[in-house]
């Protein structure tokens, strides 16, 4: 696992926004811009999804992304791909070293399956995703069918050679970040995970920060 730092300083960012746990964030990122997510307090799961901003049906595909790089973990060098083969973003810096895209996002219903049927009431990422896409002003509207399998930045979900999926303690720490360059105009969707039932947030959901820099392509 090799860590790659970014040459960009926080002072030169053109946008920054702290996103508390349990909140959603949806934002257009233009081609050439750099987009950083900072794990402010450490071990926070940041559920993230991307759309080609020119065609929302052309959205992030976890299976295509991991197959084309031949590895299930996302890190510096990963080309984030869409269902229809569009190169959406490239991870250009990563001080955490490994990010998950198999574990998906928590939902009221999956919490009922995973933990207990009386967990239905607990706040979950897919409710945040739904709120954001239903409110996104787009002709025709975005709905639940537009939400696919997402990335979990800062989350550690190893697979064993026997085909088991395990949830390990996070390898992130306060201040670790991942930074991407947008290769086309993308719509970024984040749910800063509110999960209280599993160690993905160390049982303590915390804020993150999103930053954007202008790039070389205008």
């Amino acid at each position: 696992m090799s860590l790659v730092e970014s040459p960009r300083s926080v002072r030169s960012a053109v946008y920054s926004q702290v996103i508390p746990a349990g909140e959603t964030w949806i934002h257009l990122i233009r081609r050439g811009q750099y987009f950083r997510i900072v794990d402010l307090k450490g071990n926070q799961a940041v559920d993230t999804f991307f759309y080609n901003a020119h065609d929302y049906a052309d959205r992030y595909s976890a299976q295509d992304t991991i197959r084309e790089q031949g590895n299930i973990y996302l890190t510096a060098g990963t080309r984030i791909l869409s269902r229809f083969g569009t190169h959406l973003l490239t991870i250009v810096a990563d001080t955490c070293g490994r990010h998950d895209t198999l574990g998906g996002a928590c939902a009221n219903e999956s919490n009922m399956v995973r933990y207990a049927i009386d967990k239905r009431h607990m706040h979950a990422c897919r409710s945040s995703f739904l709120k954001a896409v239903l409110n996104w002003n787009f002709e025709g509207g975005l709905t639940k069918r537009d939400i696919g399998s997402n990335i979990n930045f800062f989350m550690n979900v190893p697979v064993t050679p026997e085909g088991k999926l395990t949830f390990e303690d996070g390898i992130s720490e306060p201040g670790k970040y991942v930074e991407m360059r947008a290769e086309t105009d993308v719509l970024a969707l984040i749910s800063n995970c509110p999960q209280l039932n599993n160690p993905c947030n160390a049982y303590n959901p915390t804020p993150i920060e999103a930053l954007i820099w202008e790039g070389d392509v205008q």
Partner: protein, 238 residues
Amino acid sequence: MLDSPVLWEEILQPGATWSHVLKRGTSLRMIDIEGGANVGAMFYNFECTAERYNNPDTLKAQHIARLTEGFVLYSDMGRVLCSITADTVGWHDPLGGMSNHALVKAKYGAVSYQEALNDCHKNTRDAMLIELGKWGLGPRDFTDNINFFSKVEVDATGAMSFAPGNSKAGSSVELRAEMNVLTILNTCQHPLDPNPKYQPKPVKLELRRVLPPAADDPCRLSRPENGRGFTLTERYFL
């Protein structure tokens, strides 16, 4: 238990696509006739297609990165679409995704219908999109797919590798529909299949009526999560 009679038997040709609403209380058995088949599959609740197969929920509820007998396929609504009630293969791949036009062209060359008629080179993504269209669905309705009969291993560094020879001739896997499940299948090769030749394989399909899952059903009992998944599925039909 003796098998109930086969009500519908069909050969799904190499590189072909098939779709059907598997009714609750029926089973679909897929048989790898020659060995080395691959069946890409997507699943939807036919009554509300916004509810659909969710790969992460399926993997994390059962702590798996492979599918076999005793595991179930979850929808995004916490319900069981299908259970895997029998399997002689042991490993079906939920990671590799589906082939597409560019991938097939790069691996096997472009062979058009004009040149080769029904032996032209097909790919799973284009075929799935057409089949989605037949049910009034479209590009926004793609889900992750399962690749039945194929195996993709992951090592300690996260590297993925296709394991050849996973499915022998005559191997079979059986899905029991727990809801009315729009099922779309395609027999193009796995996108990581190292075979340099375009050589998709046929699969035999058999549909039967089956008993509902009993209190001691192995899929229901395989994990406490699945017990809750079956409860939520049974409540849907109340």
